[in-house]
Structures are given as structure tokens and as C-alpha cells.
């Protein structure tokens, strides 16, 4: 626990170390040429996370209700690892999703009474020793999980945790946008890191849900489209809504 010297304190916004590192890692990463759109964007996130955190690999699970889809993986071996928890019905990523909190396991072999015996025997022989699962959440909206796989047993340093959280943030933004271009643009926008903490956005999201009778995820998508269409920030849109303005519905009515 003496690794705090490399941790940048909060409040540095855009210049925070992890955002800089994430931007550099994303810039050096490419998706398979056969992929496009969301799948390509998320594969870049997986590959950038794998490279910059020194991992075995990474995957993004998209989970809606009872359905699960593995939408991106850094490589074929990770894709296989990512499928295993869903075959055996247990594992850190499922727990992270269910509990809405990260599940960080620095050494899978060193857990007291095994938490996931079926999962552990399924991954045996795949070279997996550490597992870091970050749920992709926007409050009550649960999108999926970013799973990071390590080949050696170790804890992430505070800087690495920060970097992993930034990659989870990029994955969330990419999923909300549904495009591959967003992730890099996002890292270039100094406001994004600051913006997602602003409470007004989430209050407005609840209001749009009521105004238009849509679900929370759709409410946020409509707010983002509105901001994009008028070239204003999401916070500006949120303030208009808090002042009583109503957005147009999904069908424009």
C-alpha cells in the first residue's frame, strides 16, 4: 500500500494522468479491419486497456435483461475466456453486474473458500491468474461489464485503477453512442471527464423519462442527441430541462 506517490490528486480534469495515458494508448491501437462501428470501437478499448495495463486480454460484455452478448474482445483467447462465466453461470463479471460494483480479484488462486468453483475450474488451463471486472453503469442504467484479465497475480496500482476506470468510461460512452468514432473524440474533449460527475445531467435524465415515457437509457440518448444537434454541452441541455423545457420524443413528437 505504498504506491500512492504515483497518484494524481482529483480535480485536474483533462490533464489527469490516466486520461493522458488512455488517450495515448487509444491512439496507438487499431481494431481488426473486418470490424466496424460499435464492435470496432470497443475492440480498440479492449486492446488499449490490455496494452497499457500489461494484461492478458480484455472483453466487453453487453448485458440486457436476461440476455448477454460478448460484443468485443482484445483477441480470440480472451473472447473464449469471456464466454466461460456465462457457460457455467458464475464468475466475477456476473457478480460485478449483479452488485453494480467493481469486483477486483488480484489472485484467483488465493481466494478463501472459492467464491466461484465452477468458474475456476472452467478457466483452469487458460493462463488466467487475476481478474478485474468493472460494471458499465450510468446510475440505474446497467449496460454491461468491462472484464480485464491478468496473467500474473497482482493488485492494480492506484494509477492503473484510474486508467481502468477511464477505459470503462470510454466503453460506456461508446456503447451510448453506438459508434467507433466517439472513443477518441471523447478523450480529446476536456469536459467529458468532468461532465459525467455533474448531478444535473442525471436529474434531467429522470425528468425526460417522465416527460416522454421512455426508459432511462433512451432519455440519456435523447439528451445526447439534442446536445450534439445544437452543438451545446450535455450540461447545457440538462439545465434547460431542469428549467422546465421538454425535449422532442424519439419520433420527433
Amino acid at each position: 500500500m505504498d504506491r500512492h506517490d504515483d497518484q494524481t490528486p482529483a480535480g485536474d480534469g483533462r490533464e489527469h494522468t490516466s486520461w493522458r495515458l488512455a488517450r495515448a494508448a487509444m491512439a496507438q491501437t487499431h481494431a481488426d479491419p473486418s470490424l466496424s462501428g460499435l464492435a470496432a470501437g470497443l475492440q480498440r478499448v479492449c486492446r488499449a486497456a490490455t496494452a497499457s495495463l500489461g494484461l492478458l486480454g480484455a472483453v466487453v460484455h453487453l448485458i440486457t435483461g436476461e440476455r448477454e452478448a460478448l460484443v468485443a474482445s482484445s483477441d480470440e483467447a480472451s473472447r473464449r475466456l469471456g464466454e466461460l462465466p456465462f457457460e457455467v453461470g458464475e464468475g466475477p463479471c456476473l457478480e460485478a453486474f449483479a452488485l453494480a460494483r467493481p469486483i477486483l480479484v488480484p489472485d484467483l488462486m488465493l481466494m478463501g473458500p472459492p467464491r466461484w468453483p465452477g468458474y475456476l475450474s472452467a478457466v483452469d488451463g487458460h493462463g488466467l491468474r487475476a481478474s478485474y471486472s468493472f460494471p458499465l453503469l450510468v446510475g440505474a442504467v446497467r449496460l454491461g461489464v468491462l472484464d480485464l484479465y491478468g496473467a500474473s497475480p497482482r493488485s492494480l496500482t492506484p494509477t492503473e485503477v484510474s486508467l481502468a476506470l477511464v477505459f470503462a468510461r470510454v466503453a460506456i460512452e461508446t456503447l451510448l453512442d453506438g459508434s467507433d468514432g466517439s472513443s477518441v473524440a471523447l478523450l480529446d474533449d476536456p469536459q467529458v471527464g468532468v461532465m459525467h460527475g455533474r448531478l444535473e445531467i442525471y436529474q434531467a435524465q429522470g425528468m425526460v423519462k417522465v416527460d416522454l415515457g421512455v426508459d432511462l437509457a433512451e432519455a440519456l440518448a435523447l439528451m445526447r442527441a439534442h446536445a450534439f444537434g445544437r452543438d451545446v454541452t450535455l450540461l447545457d441541455v440538462a439545465r434547460l430541462i431542469l428549467d422546465g423545457e421538454r425535449l422532442l420524443g424519439p419520433q420527433g413528437g
Binding site: 482529483a10 490516466s18 477486483l104 484510474s162 460527475g197 434531467a204 416527460d211 432511462l216
Partner: protein, 242 residues
């Protein structure tokens, strides 16, 4: 002078909230409210490091929208950010004299009739995980006694945040902080739903959610989740409000 009996009442009340299965946001709200009372502050807010480079608002003695704005502003500048960066108390700040130091924060605080500020870091061993910010309507310095009690309350906030967890594994700090930060977002989403459904302000919506949770012995975060996921709590809230 702080009355000893009132002080023990407050600590007993706060400790009582720390039962099994307690709601973190409600607990922090309680800590902030107690800190405001004991230090004669107009407002007290609690901020947490989101581990991504931002200080984020978690709880306050008042959910007044302009105050929340003032707390959130301190992600960029202000005494809270300084307390968090240095890990030291930022003591007896006179708002009117701080315009050069904090050109955005200080005028905004003055507009709200606040004259002094005091910030306490939230410490977990050698780490600073956030800060507690007190504001007063007068420029009086905080007494040693008030400071000691405020520090104890800031420590209680940290204990509540960690529950029994971080004492065992370093990973649990991240797990718990991230869970707490996302819980606050769920509550904001629910405030928006309630505010629009019942045509009330967001601060009033928070009060209604909290009252409903207390009345039905439910956790505030569970009620908020229920409200945004259309599982009946909203209708019950509407029925009890009309």
C-alpha cells in the same frame, strides 16, 4: 460551547445509522446534517475522489440546487479541492478575501450569503479519499472544539464509506467508492423522476424519497432504484403525496 448532551445525542444518532445493511447516502446525509448543527454552519457537504481525476459530490446537509452547484464547482477550484490535494485542513477561509485565489468559487459562494468556509480531508490511512466542506454565514473562526468534533464526523464518514471492507483488501476501496458514486447517480435520476411526476423541486423530491424510505424502513438507494425502474415505489410515493 457545544452542549455535551447534544453532542452525545448526535453521535448516538449517527452511530445508530451504522447498522447492518445501512444506506450509505442516507448515512452521509446524516453526518453532514450533524456537522452543520454542531459547527453552526449554514451548509456542510461531502465530496469523494472518483479515482478518475474528479472530486464528486456525495451528500450535503441541504439539497438546495445552488448549494450543490457550489460543491460541484470545487472539482475545478476551491477549499475542498485544496484540502483533498494536500490532505490538510483548509482552515477559516474568509470568502470575500478569496476572490483572487478562487475567482469562480468565491463570488458564487458570496452570492449565496456565505462568508466563511472550512474543509476537512477524508483520510483513510495514508490516502485522502475526499473532503468535508463547511460553510458559514458569518466570518467567525471555528473554535478548537468545533474543529475536533467536525474532524471526528469526517472520520465517521470515512468509516461509513468503508464499512468493514477496506481493512481487509486494498481492492475494496475501489469497489466501495465506485459503488457509492454510482448510488448517488441513481438517487439523482430518481429525484428527476419524482420532481417531474409531482411537479416539485429536485430538493423537495429528495426529501420525499428520504421520508418514504424512512417510513417504510427501506434503504434510500433501493427506493431510488425502485422509482426509476417503475417497480411501484413511484406510485406509492405519488399516493402518499396526494
Amino acid at each position: 460551547m457545544i452542549s455535551t448532551s447534544r453532542l452525545s445525542d448526535l453521535f448516538v444518532e449517527v452511530a445508530d445509522t451504522l447498522v447492518d445493511d445501512f444506506d450509505l447516502i442516507d448515512f452521509l446525509h446524516h453526518v453532514a446534517t450533524s456537522a452543520a448543527e454542531i459547527t453552526s454552519s449554514t451548509a456542510v457537504g461531502l465530496m469523494l475522489d472518483d479515482q478518475e481525476g474528479n472530486l464528486r459530490f456525495m451528500a450535503a446537509s441541504s439539497e438546495d440546487a445552488r448549494l450543490l452547484e457550489l460543491f460541484q464547482l470545487q472539482n475545478a477550484e476551491g477549499p475542498c479541492l485544496d484540502a483533498h490535494r494536500t490532505g490538510e485542513e483548509v482552515a477559516d477561509i474568509v470568502i470575500e478575501e478569496s476572490v483572487e485565489r478562487w475567482p469562480v468559487f468565491a463570488p458564487r459562494a458570496a452570492e449565496l450569503g456565505l462568508h466563511s468556509a472550512h474543509c476537512f480531508p477524508l483520510r483513510l490511512r495514508d490516502q485522502v479519499i475526499g473532503a468535508m466542506n463547511t460553510f458559514r454565514a458569518d466570518a467567525r473562526a471555528m473554535s478548537q472544539e468545533e474543529r475536533r468534533v467536525a474532524r471526528a464526523l469526517a472520520d465517521l464518514a470515512t468509516i461509513g464509506l468503508m464499512q468493514e471492507r477496506a481493512l481487509r483488501r486494498a481492492e475494496e476501496l475501489t469497489e466501495q467508492l465506485q459503488f457509492a458514486l454510482n448510488s448517488r447517480i441513481v438517487i439523482e435520476q430518481a429525484k428527476g423522476v419524482v420532481a417531474r411526476t409531482l411537479d416539485v423541486g429536485v430538493d423537495q423530491a429528495f426529501g420525499m424519497l428520504r421520508a418514504y424510505a424512512r417510513q417504510h424502513r427501506l434503504r434510500l438507494t433501493d427506493v431510488a432504484r425502485d422509482v426509476v425502474e417503475d417497480r411501484g415505489a413511484l406510485q406509492a410515493l405519488v399516493d402518499s403525496a396526494t
